[in-house]
Amino acid sequence: MKSWLRHHRQALAAALGKVAAQKAAAALNALVIGIALSLPAGGYALLGSLRAATAGAPLEPQFSVFMRADAKRAEADALAARLKGDARLRGLRFVPREQALKELQASEGLAEVVAALGRNPLPDAFVLRPASGDPAALEALASDLRNLPGVAHVQADSAWARRLAALTGTARLAIALLAALLAFGLVAITFNTIRLQILTLRAEIEISKLIGATDAFIRRPFFYLGALQGLSGGLVALAILWGSLSALNVGVAELAASYGSGFRLAFLEPGDALAVVLFSAGLGWFGAYLSVSKYLLEIEPK
């Protein structure tokens, strides 16, 4: 166990030595990997921010049914009774015009506007939850609701949220594909770096095999080198992401403030940031493994 640990320590030291001996090349490799990884990591961070901003949005189908502005409360009560008996609905909530006005007043920046109105322009409304999510059934229900007495307007509230959810899902898939593609790129970069290292150290490898080094002993420093390369690339990706988000947040903060929002693009959660670095290091190790498996076996003492 002690000598096993010593061999690993030696291999890590040898890999660090190789990095130190070729600082410029190592830095360029880390930069290339970092730029490549920052794209999916950045996409993931943006999605995270978007998800947080829209966390309260209803994703289930939902209708807002607005009464005519001159409709009496009795008409609203009659409509409520009718809607309660409709089997196509699994819930409804009545929003009296007074409550709607209060909610509007509570909205940031609108209190003064509402106060200036002088009268309540809002109608009574119902928020309905349909039993079925089938688009055809929803369309038929919306059509029927529009024809009910006293109804002025029917609005499908969840449509935008569902579109956003669909867009987010597509974006997530695109990011995953991009990440997979760039992961291949990272593996290819590491594969080539290690291949060049093996070719450079061909004589040393041959001599080491000749005097009793096992394949595992020879492979180990290359594995560490690949992992170190991936690790440094992952750290560079996080630095690029942090810098980019900080720069973007200056503009985003101004834009959000104009809407009365404190929205900011958030950096990755610590766990996610760690996952980026570990994933990158793992891919580096894998690239080294492929390269070593292919080229090291070809070197035998003669």
Binding site: Q10, F217, E300
Partner: protein, 217 residues
């Protein structure tokens, strides 16, 4: 220690390097492997550390059948052998000390003990004062002595040398052979391939002469 029994070696393409080689080398023996250039001396020596495998026959080293040895077991066989080559096979981007430390890196010795062993091996070949030098700063004879230090640092029971004096002047050649003789005196088995008849005569040891693919003693 070493036993060859009806060993033949043919390379891909049909070239026959050894036809029917049989001999034994007991523990503590010192023997020269003689023969003209192309007689198969290097091939025979390469069979011992499993750099090459016999096409037929049996090669036993310390009781192990080298021809049947699995690839994963070969490094462990080689660690128990001291190998010296005509072209030394040194690492020229490392110091003299680091070259000798190389075989110890694979083993179980701690850093301090390994360094002590490496310095002891360098002292035995008279190179301790040059431990920080680069091998390119050494003469041909010194480089060969460095190769010997690396070969013996793991304290092998068997030293094998392939034309270790081929590129050396007469005095350096004698000095290198004297080092082998010194190791032999403390019980190390030594097999040296050479075509230098003057050296063979001077050191007067057992001679295995390779001719026509076989051994003539």
């Amino acid at each position: 220690m070493i036993s060859f029994s009806s060993v033949a070696k043919r390379y891909p393409g049909g070239q026959e390097a050894l036809r029917d080689v049989s001999f034994s080398l007991a523990q503590g023996e010192f023997a020269f492997l003689a023969g003209h250039s192309g007689a198969g001396k290097s091939t025979l020596l390469k069979l011992i550390p499993a750099i090459e495998r016999p096409s037929s026959g049996t090669v036993l080293v310390n009781g192990q059948n080298v021809g049947a040895l699995k690839k994963a077991a070969v490094p462990y066989l080689r660690r128990n052998l001291g190998l010296v080559f005509q072209d030394q096979k040194l690492l020229y981007d490392r110091s003299v000390f680091d070259n000798v430390m190389l075989p110890l890196a694979f083993g179980d010795l701690g850093g301090r003990e390994a360094a002590r062993r490496a310095r002891a091996a360098l002292e035995k070949v008279g190179l301790l004062a040059r431990e920080r030098a680069n091998p390119v700063q050494l003469s041909g004879g010194e480089q060969q002595r460095l190769a010997i230090a690396r070969a013996v640092v793991n304290r092998p029971a068997l030293l094998i040398a392939d034309e270790p004096t081929a590129n050396l002047d007469a005095a350096a050649a004698v000095s290198v052979l004297e080092i082998f003789a010194a190791f032999n005196q403390v019980g190390v088995t030594v097999l040296v391939a050479t075509h230098d008849e003057a050296l063979i005569t001077r050191f007067a040891r057992r001679v295995l002469r390779l001719a026509k693919g076989g051994i003539i003693e």
